[in-house]
Symmetry: C2
């Protein structure tokens, strides 16, 4: 069960984590943002590790879920990759921030407790989706390379504050797949 309050907390935490990583927010920040006290945040999420793990898991569910079926018969691999690319470009355009797991992935050895496993789960699920999505398509690109291109371009776009890299990545993928 996830209450409305917990959703509020996770929404804020996710937004901050995607912009600045684990240390970009504190329990006090969360509390101030939604109008309660930090002790109350601890009531819903005993430790920060708990909060981070739940945010990652929710993110993974939502992201992979939003991609839809990877094996719909009336679609081509091209269609499916287009949807994946749109998920990335959309996130950049609307929120100006990265994939949560890209931010956390590069510092995976420094995040607490079970979080690294949650990040790896995300990538495993995404790889699996792409493996199915590309089935039957002959290409030099592995599923993980498709992910790499999109995420690398996303990071670069954020870093240089221009959408060219992520838009070029999408265009390139759609031209070769």
């Amino acid at each position: 069960m996830t209450t409305a309050r917990e959703t509020e907390i996770m929404d804020f935490a996710e937004r901050e984590m995607r912009k600045g990583g684990l240390d970009a927010f504190s329990f006090r920040d969360v509390a101030a943002a939604i109008g309660i006290k930090s002790a109350s945040v601890h009531y819903h999420f005993p430790t920060k590790a708990d909060l981070v793990q739940r945010v990652i898991t929710r993110y993974a569910d939502r992201f992979v879920g939003s991609l839809g079926a990877a094996d719909a018969a009336d679609e081509t691999p091209h269609d499916r990759v287009a949807r994946l690319a749109d998920a990335y470009t959309g996130a950049y355009r609307q929120e100006g921030c990265s994939c949560l797991c890209t931010v956390l992935g590069s510092v995976v050895t420094y995040i607490p407790d079970g979080s690294p496993d949650k990040v790896r789960d995300f990538y495993n699920r995404l790889s699996q989706w792409l493996t199915t999505a590309l089935e039957g398509k002959s290409t030099d690109l592995t599923p993980e390379l498709v992910i790499s291109i999109l995420q690398g371009a996303m990071t670069l776009s954020v870093a240089v504050d221009r959408d060219a890299p992520i838009m070029d990545a999408k265009r390139y993928l759609l031209s070769v797949l």
Copy 2:
């Protein structure tokens, strides 16, 4: 002028930043690692922002410098990209950690003072090198996409703790360039 002590400090700071970002180390960590007191670290680098900026600049100089000439007449674009890819795979194999600016790039809006500009300088210099390096080569890949692929794969390799993504990225780039 950079003294031996400052080099020691920056070496440690860079190593930690590449593994865990800005908040992965403190002045006390630095001091303990090299056997002095934190106040002495402040003597060499008045603020953390100072230290971070110098580390990024030094990293950029070293990384781009290590790539060598982008316009040597006896080389092909393929040769040059191979060298760039080796810089990434080498970093992963030897240090198991990412490009410094990949780690910082995704959180660029949360790092202090002049640091974002230093990160962007790095990418500008790398793009410029690649633009020259690819001159005359007909390809759909932009210089920034080449960077994206390598860095995205690097991040993924770190995240999932397998070298497959970064090795595949190198292989792919050399097959299409």
